[in-house]
């Protein structure tokens, strides 16, 4: 596939699709019918199955977020009862964390791209990949059953003894949902690790890999080593809830704080499950739209591993006021600060990559700019909560809420949307409408900041999170936040609409509309079922834009 298959004309844009044709035969049209989708073992189709289910959960979680924000419009707690409110924010958290953010990028873009980027025909275990989607769906079904049955009111963190002894909501059903979906995540991670180790194309050495792959490798490590711990913890919680005797039960001498240790052993690294793939996406976007290899490639690559590993050692910073000892707190605080360093390395390297690049402003790049900005705020405010003295004050307030939304929504979701736009032509063979996309990127950025920036101020003022009613003086900032959330909702609905539209009606994209580098762009759009018509052989690093013609195919 030679790069000049996409004709070029004007100087300002790179997206050209005039004259491009869809390949006659590709993974989307080779087989038809429901069974061909529900029983598929093709990683690309499974990625799409994930995309649909994850999108559904995203909007469901978003619906609950809107309920929460609407309630907080007034201080009095007058829209719904506190029980309903508690269920709304819990379902928002459970759905967004376990059914959207954790699988978001890995299970969709990762599933689609990892085999393409390493030049393989599929993931190492295609059937296990399908199984992982079914586990996700079963877990999701439990979550929805819990929701229909009246919801869960424990907060997404399921802290004992409230969850095990006190709550009379559908904790068990929700916990089973989380437990099952955890195994979906584990199987995805297992598949990625084996694929990246064993299925790379000839010549694709570790240091020629796209940074997306490095990020997903690091993510998979966390999925494998962290997820089982939360799975067993949730199972022990269920055990305790059913039998009324359990190992976290303070009435028989158990320690509720032990639950928090075990829970956060996974759930803190889980934040990196969410954001590392996003960083991988951003590295691809920055390289692709600056037409430049990433500055300090090996530093960016190893910083992913460093984040994954150090990320495992910091969970106790969620327990600074939970009764953990000051000595432990010191250890967790200092390691938390160390995680800041590899994150900073990434941001500086991305910035340096722009230097002497050839930068264009297509939508994915706008999302990349947005990601860097929002991740910067999220990461820097991480420094506040890692400082134990300050965390004592802001812990469990809206400051923390704003901080992690900047990382998990500002970071992950921006990267997810950016990546979706970037690889949409590869996935569907068609282009998204650029104008609408740019508009929605702008709306998302503005709406996001309006929603979450006031929450930093609210948090420092002392407004605790998970509050149904609040003192009057916090109202102005809450109204701003709710206004922002409405704008944000519009920003998320727009892509949903135009992506759906472009699925059938978008312009034919051609194999490489952005003239980006990487094995995924060397095959047709959409790719054939087994990805490459001829097995690729690699002779240079992925982002070698400076010698365009050097690649041997």
């Amino acid at each position: 596939m030679s790069p000049d298959i996409t004709p070029t004309s004007t100087a300002s844009a790179t997206v050209r699709s005039a004259g491009a044709v869809m390949p006659a035969r590709h993974y989307l049209n080779e087989q038809g019918g429901w069974a061909s989708w529900l029983l598929t073992t093709d990683h690309k189709r499974i990625a799409l199955l994930y995309l649909f289910s994850i999108t559904a959960f995203f909007f469901l979680g978003g619906f609950f977020a809107l309920l929460v924000r609407l309630e907080l419009l007034t201080p009095g707690g007058d829209l719904m009862t506190s029980d309903v409110y508690n269920r709304a924010f819990t379902m928002h958290g459970v759905i967004m964390v376990f059914f959207f953010l954790v699988p978001s990028i890995p299970a969709t873009l990762g599933n689609f791209l990892v085999p393409l980027m390493v030049g393989a025909k599929d993931l190492a275990f295609p059937k296990i990949n399908l199984l992982s989607w079914y586990l996700y769906v079963i877990g999701g079904a439990f979550a929805i059953a819990a929701m229909i049955g009246g919801g869960v009111d424990t907060g997404w963190t399921f802290y004992t003894p409230y969850s095990s002894m006190a709550s009379n909501s559908k904790v068990l059903t929700g916990a089973i949902g989380v437990f099952v979906s955890g195994f979906s995540s584990i199987l995805t991670g297992l598949n990625f690790i084996v694929t990246i180790h064993r299925m790379r194309a000839p010549g694709l050495t570790w240091f020629r890999l796209p940074l997306f792959i490095w990020a997903h490798y690091a993510t998979s490590l966390i999925m494998i080593l962290g997820t089982p711990v939360v799975a067993i913890t949730i199972l022990l919680l269920a055990f305790e809830r059913v039998l009324r005797v359990g190992i976290f039960d303070p009435t028989i001498g158990g320690d509720p704080v032990l639950f928090q240790h075990l829970f956060w052993f996974y759930s803190h690294p889980a934040v990196y499950i969410m954001v590392l793939p996003g960083m991988g996406v951003i590295s691809e976007l920055v390289a692709g739209f600056a037409r430049k290899n990433i500055f300090g490639y090996s530093f960016v690559a190893f910083s992913s591993l460093a984040i994954a590993i150090l990320g495992f050692l910091v969970w106790g910073h969620h327990l600074f006021v939970a009764g953990e000892t000051p000595y432990s707190a010191l250890v967790f605080s200092i390691i938390s600060y160390m995680v800041a360093v590899p994150s900073a390395i990434k941001v500086f390297n991305w910035t340096a990559t722009f230097y002497k690049g050839s930068i264009s402003y297509e939508t994915p790049m706008l999302y990349a700019f947005g990601f860097v900005g929002l991740f910067l705020v999220g990461g820097l405010t991480g420094l506040f909560v890692a400082a134990i003295g300050v965390d004592i004050h802001v812990h469990d307030t809206y400051f923390v809420v704003a901080h992690f939304h900047y990382i998990m929504v500002g970071g992950t979701l921006m990267a997810y949307l950016g990546g979706l736009h970037f690889w949409w032509p590869k996935i569907t063979g068609r282009l998204y409408p650029e104008g609408w996309a740019k508009l929605s990127a702008l709306i998302v950025f503005v709406g996001f900041n309006l929603t979450f920036f006031p929450q930093f101020i609210l948090g420092y003022l002392g407004m605790p999170r998970r509050y149904h009613a609040y003192p009057d003086e916090f109202q102005v900032l809450n109204v701003m936040s709710t206004a922002g959330a409405s704008i944000l909702a519009l920003g998320y609905l727009l892509p949903m609409v135009y992506f759906t539209w472009s699925w059938k009606k978008g312009k034919i994209a051609g194999d490489n509309p952005f003239r980006a580098k990487g094995l995924e762009w060397e095959t047709t759009s959409p790719p054939p079922t087994f990805n490459f018509d001829r097995p690729p052989v690699v002779t240079e690093a992925t982002h070698s834009y400076a010698h365009q013609e050097a690649r041997v195919v």
Binding site: H197, P202, H261, W315, G316, Y327, V331
Partner: protein, 111 residues
Amino acid sequence: MDATLRQEEHEHEHVVPKSLYLTIFGLLMVLTAATVGLAFVDLGVMNIAVALAVAVVKASLVVLFFMHVKYSSRLVQLVVLASIVWLLILFGITLSDYITRGWLVAPPIVR
């Protein structure tokens, strides 16, 4: 790790002689008997240490010989090592909280 290595690994599959398996089995049985026997001797705090040490030796024998890790690729050995290290991280850092709970910051609660 690429095609060359893969092929070699496959072609030179290490077949462990049957007698080695039987020897390992014998050792495991002896160690099981030893750990039960030692449990009846009062060694103070060393009881748990001895019991765990024997268990670690037994597990290592199974991993190295029955599971062929001694003859496996570096990567497999790394996976084994990594999971043990992570387990120790889970134990060690969690216990760092529990162990230091005796050392409360002065003055202790309600003195």
